[in-house]
């Protein structure tokens, strides 16, 4: 493919990441064990895995919201520890918009912390509102908006901070299928326009196959990467890639990897399937 984004250099590296959760009077739970990964600058990377494999834990660790029990995260050559590094933006699965603020104030929220002057803040907010199709809703409050619109507000709020790495933890999980496809296209547009590196956690195979340059497939708990699948899409792409025969191949490959892991996650022994 002429325009396919090839790795140039790693902007984000995970080295031997493990995370154990200790609870009194219970066996320690290993959510992640030995996660290694390199993500290249400007890449769109998706992470899929069976439910409960530690995807969100991994996300929190990469963002600096949670410390790993072992291993380290390196972002732009610096070790991530304790705080979310400058240049990293996070969008959560849960609606994180602030209902007491208007859409405009929500989007401007993080910028007001940066000490930028008002004109610059206003310009960035207006651009982000326009970009995310929220311009007509600037004065609305989140409770007046649909779930998809609220998630857009959260994406816009992250976008205005001009992150170089955008982490998205199943941002579309609560949305219906059509909205998800369209939001996926918007995400691609955002990725192309900003030149940021994007890491998307999702449980939807088709979403991962359609959007990402590479898809990391995680094992059942304790989670680690069992394979990284390259999709080979050009940088200029949209949801119509689902008509490409390669989309079927990628999705099939992802599912063959994920099926066994999902069965394991559900506690089934796939070598000796229980008779129905």
């Amino acid at each position: 493919m002429p325009e396919s984004s090839q790795p140039i250099h790693a902007v984000l590296s995970l080295r031997g990441i493990s995370r154990v959760f200790l609870a009194a009077a219970r066996e320690p739970v290993w959510a992640l064990q030995g996660v290694d990964l390199d993500i290249n600058a400007g890449e769109f990377f998706a992470i899929i895995g069976p439910s409960g494999c530690g995807k969100s834990t991994l996300m929190d660790i990469v963002a600096g919201l949670l410390a790993p029990s072992e291993g380290e995260v390196i972002f732009e050559g610096k070790r991530v520890s304790g705080t979310v590094p400058d240049g990293v933006g996070v969008v959560f699965q849960e609606d994180a918009s602030f209902p007491w603020l208007s859409v405009y104030e929500n989007v401007a929220f993080g910028l007001k912390e940066t000490g930028l002057d008002r004109a610059e803040i206003d310009a960035r907010v207006r651009y982000a509102l326009e970009f995310m199709g929220l311009a007509d809703f600037a004065r609305h409050h989140p409770p007046q908006l649909s779930g998809g619109m609220r998630q857009r507000v959260c994406i816009a709020r992250t976008l205005v901070l001009r992150p170089r790495l955008i982490l998205l933890d199943e941002p579309f999980a609560a949305l219906d299928q059509q909205t998800r496809l369209l939001m996926g296209e918007e995400l691609l547009r955002l990725w192309r326009e900003t030149g940021a590196t994007v890491v998307l956690i999702t449980h939807a195979l088709d979403e991962a196959a359609m959007l990402a340059d590479r898809v990391g497939v995680m094992s059942a708990r304790p989670g680690r990467f069992i394979e990284v699948v390259a999709t080979g899409w050009p940088r200029a792409r949209d949801s119509t890639v689902v008509a490409d025969p390669r989309f079927g191949e990628v999705t099939a490959r992802l599912w063959s990897l994920l099926r066994l892991e999902s069965l394991r996650a559900m506690g089934r022994d796939f070598n000796n399937p229980t008779p129905a």
Binding site: A63, L65, T83, V84, D86, G89, V90, F92, E94, D95, A96, F98, P99, W100, L101, F109, G110, E113, P143, C154, R157, T158, L161
Partner: protein
């Protein structure tokens, strides 16, 4: 004016009218000497409002009440934010607040008098004692029911601690704080008035006790009516604000 609004105003008018009828009826049944009628009471209130002595009492109560309300709210919200944010602090101190809410605070008044002496400080302290524990408990409850995602979002946007308190914690808990203000509004008034009734030489509470002593029932009723109107209006306005905030 919408239909619903017109109906609400009609309801309030009807209710007030009904109460006045009952008041008048009871007054006739018991005799004017025991329970002065509405017109008699209102006339006395108007007369009192023109008297400098009464205005001094009103001012004394008003000032003590405003200070008590301010201290109870400020202290209650501050403690509530702390107890709600820290599990250790909450588990250590909140049970004491619940005890304070439960006991009849008048039993503590001798101690308050010993600590603050006769005068304004004691009645202010008594008003604070009535209001603060409930405000702290309600605020702490509001903090604990905060969606954890707000904290995560704050960290993701690299908010400093004080910014988090000011820009996320306080606005998110504001509906609970206003609900607490509404209850504190009534409790602090109770505390200040009771304080004035037992050990004070001025204020509406003192006037009430003095009037009972000389069997001046019109003045007693006039003070009660004034307090009723003040508390009723304040509570209704704050309730409307609570409804508005909770959308």
């Amino acid at each position: 004016m919408t239909l619903a609004r017109t109906r609400r105003i009609a309801d309030i008018a009807l209710l007030s009218f009904g109460l006045l009828i009952i008041w008048e009826a009871v007054s006739i049944a018991l005799g004017m000497r025991v329970l002065p009628a509405p017109v008699q009471t209102a006339t006395r209130l108007v007369a009192l409002l023109a008297k400098p002595g009464f205005l001094r009492d009103l001012r004394a109560t008003g000032e003590a009440y405003a200070i008590a309300l301010g201290l109870a709210m400020g202290g209650g919200v501050g403690l509530g934010l702390m107890f709600g944010s820290s599990r250790v602090l909450g588990e250590t101190f909140e049970p004491w607040l619940h005890v304070l809410v439960a006991i009849p605070k008048v039993t503590l008044y001798p101690i308050i008098l010993l600590l603050f002496g006769l005068g304004d400080a004691a009645k202010i302290a008594f008003g604070v004692l009535h209001g603060l524990p409930t405000v702290a408990i309600m605020t702490a409850g509001g903090v604990r029911s905060l969606r954890p995602i707000y904290g995560k979002a704050a960290r993701a946007m690299r908010l400093k601690r004080w910014s988090y308190v000011r820009r996320i914690l306080l606005p998110a808990v504001m509906p609970e704080i206003v609900a607490a203000l509404r209850i504190c509004f009534a409790l602090a008034l109770l505390g200040v008035l009771v304080g004035e009734m037992f050990a004070s030489t001025r204020g509406l509470g003192h006037l009430l006790m003095a009037s009972i002593g000389v069997d001046d029932m019109p003045t007693v009723m006039a003070v009660i009516l004034l307090l009723f109107l003040f508390a009723g209006t304040g509570s209704s306005v704050l309730l409307a604000v609570v409804h508005r905030l909770k959308g």
